[in-house]
């Protein structure tokens, strides 16, 4: 069982009460935090647990978002569950193809190839404007389900809980242990008889599944999808969330999401230079706090 189980219950209890306690503005902020929390957690599966830095991770998010955008704007699908299934399937499918290519490489090459693949996906999204809306993207997306703002909050909450449980399961499971073994010493895992390629591949699909969930939610939340959903900007933000919060920790990415979303929200009232601050924060964290908040706190507490 997970340590700090009670702490997580408190967090979840708090989250359940948010729409009741806070105004709609702050409630929607928490929705954003949860969505990005899911995305950051999914990235952490690859980065923190398997030791794979994949910039291609955003493909799951972007493809799922575009699937929703294209299907709803063209009026092809109006059933919520069908939409969800298609979005998830599309996200996983793209990841399945991309992963085969990317896993031909390892180490630094892997990072670069995933980056290139994500950028190519973005270029295609921009060029294919008959379907994707090009640079402008698709706007005016509406949820094919009459649940209102509060309903959407709880929908996101349910997804968040599911993902949190998945991560908790991962940490304790044999699958998760193998991934962590691959992170620490892949040749040794191979020597022990594990097919590390297969494990890495499944990890990418798993992470892609969660990223697609996040992308699906965000597209409906924002009522918009665009090439930015496949580009550097979001990849970097998610990466920073994982870094700040702590790689390889269960709640770290979520903490990172809290910090970054709140910071971005607060700062954008005073300045337009959010990117500069993000960049500086990034550099600062890599140099001075590469372990992330949760890991540092854990160490302090266990003394």
């Amino acid at each position: 069982m997970v340590r700090n189980f009670k702490a997580y219950l408190c967090l979840l209890a708090f989250l359940i009460c948010v729409p009741v306690i806070f105004s709609p503005y702050y409630t929607s902020l928490v929705v954003k935090i949860m969505i990005f929390g899911i995305f950051a957690m999914s990235l952490d599966i690859l980065l923190g647990y398997t030791g794979l830095l994949s910039f291609g991770h955003i493909i799951g998010w972007g493809i799922a978002s575009y699937a929703v955008g294209i299907l709803t704007s063209q009026g092809i699908v109006s059933n919520f569950f069908v939409l969800l299934l298609i979005a998830l399937f599309a996200g996983i499918a793209f990841n399945a193809v991309v992963a085969v290519l990317a896993l031909r490489t390892s180490g630094l090459y892997f990072v670069l190839v995933t980056l290139a693949l994500a950028e190519i996906a973005r270029c295609v999204a921009v060029k294919w404007h008959s379907i994707t809306g090009g640079v402008d993207g698709i706007s005016g997306i509406t949820l094919p389900l009459e649940i209102g703002e509060t309903g959407f909050y709880y929908l996101t909450f349910i997804f968040f809980v599911i993902c949190l449980c998945l991560i908790c399961w991962l940490v304790d499971s044999r699958f998760g242990r193998v991934l962590m073994g691959i992170r620490e010493n892949e040749p040794r895992m191979q020597a022990l008889g594990y097919d590390t390629w297969l494990f890495k591949y499944i990890a990418i699909l798993f992470a892609g599944f969660m990223a697609s969930m996040a992308g699906f939610l965000f597209c409906l939340f924002n009522r918009y999808v665009g090439p930015g959903d496949l580009g550097f900007g979001l990849s970097g933000e998610a990466l920073l969330m994982v870094l700040i919060g702590g790689m390889g920790t269960i709640i770290g990415p979520f903490i990172g999401s809290v910090i970054l979303v709140v910071l971005k929200n607060a700062l954008s009232m005073y300045t337009t230079h959010w990117m500069l601050i993000l960049g500086i924060l990034f550099v600062f964290c890599v140099k001075f706090f590469p372990e992330g908040l949760v890991t540092i706190l854990k160490k302090k507490i266990s003394r």
């Binding site: 490489t105 090459y109 980056l115 990117m275 960049g279 890599v286």
Partner: protein, 282 residues
């Protein structure tokens, strides 16, 4: 006219080679993956473009290149040096710098798209083999061939090159032999940055300087080093040629599939030669 497109492709390959060789300089010697390399291109392009209106192309180019070299050195000394040999951290750190450069560039030039003007001497066309082709592009090709040859010669035939190659293979040994690598690393970073700056200043004449060129050209540069092999200068040359031609010819003859030509090249290389065409995984 196929010959025109071919020359366009070679010109683009030349610019891309400047980027790739700068990259190679930083990685081959210091194992630094500089994600901000595209940002160097963009920033230098903007500086050159902005200055051509006031002080002319050549001074603009010079200022652009020197500024980037200085900025590069500052980044190296201030941030990267202490993370020596920690590849991932250096990668992440330079990744963060992309945002910094993007913001500052937007701040300074408000998202305009700027093009430096060609200097008058180079603003003409040459006639040969039945076509008319801009001199500017031909000069770029010539300059880059010279630079490429110079880099190759330095690497293979000079003592400095030998030190550098030894430093890549076994840094401790080189230091043990009493050779001071610090100024060499510094010089290499400055040169790598300068190459990117030069690419930006000269390339912006036809690509333009705009927000977004940083990631676009970074991606192309990364694809080149992946298919050419990270640790090889010749790989960078071959890769640049392939990608430059694929990109240009793709855009000319298959405009709806432009990104796919590059994608296809990359896929083919990854499937058949995953460690790059001429690469050695250092």
């Amino acid at each position: 006219m196929f010959l025109v497109q071919l020359l366009n492709g070679i010109t683009w390959s030349a610019i891309l080679f400047l980027m790739a060789s700068g990259f190679y300089m930083l990685f081959g010697l210091m194992r630094i993956i500089n994600m901000a390399h595209g940002s160097f291109y963009m920033f230098a392009g903007y500086i050159t473009a902005a200055l051509t209106l006031t002080v002319g192309f050549w001074i603009g180019l010079l200022v652009g290149v020197v500024s980037i070299a200085i900025i590069g050195v500052l980044i190296y000394v201030g941030l990267l040096k202490s993370l020596h040999k920690q590849d991932l951290k250096q990668l992440l750190l330079t990744f963060g710098l992309i945002y910094v450069f993007l913001d500052i560039t937007q701040w300074l030039w408000h998202g305009q798209v700027l093009f430096p003007f060609k200097p008058d001497i180079l603003d003409g066309s040459a006639r040969f083999l039945g076509i008319i082709y801009p001199i500017y592009q031909l000069i770029i090709i010539a300059i880059v061939i010279i630079i490429g040859a110079a880099l190759w010669l330095i690497q293979d035939k000079t003592k400095l090159g030998a030190i550098i190659r030894a430093g890549v293979d076994d840094e401790e040994m080189v230091r043990g032999l009493g050779i001071n690598l610090a100024p060499i690393f510094l010089g290499a970073f400055a040169l790598g940055a300068a190459l990117a700056g030069f690419a930006g200043g000269m390339g912006a004449v036809f690509t333009g300087a705009y927000l977004g060129i940083d990631t676009e050209i970074l991606t192309l540069g990364l694809i080149i080093v992946v298919i050419g092999g990270l640790g090889s200068l010749q790989g960078a040359m071959l890769g640049s040629l392939l990608i430059g031609l694929a990109d240009t010819l793709g855009k000319a003859y298959l405009p709806d599939f432009a990104s796919f030509t590059i994608f296809t090249v990359m896929v083919l290389v990854l499937v058949f030669r995953p460690s790059g065409l001429l690469g050695k995984q250092t």
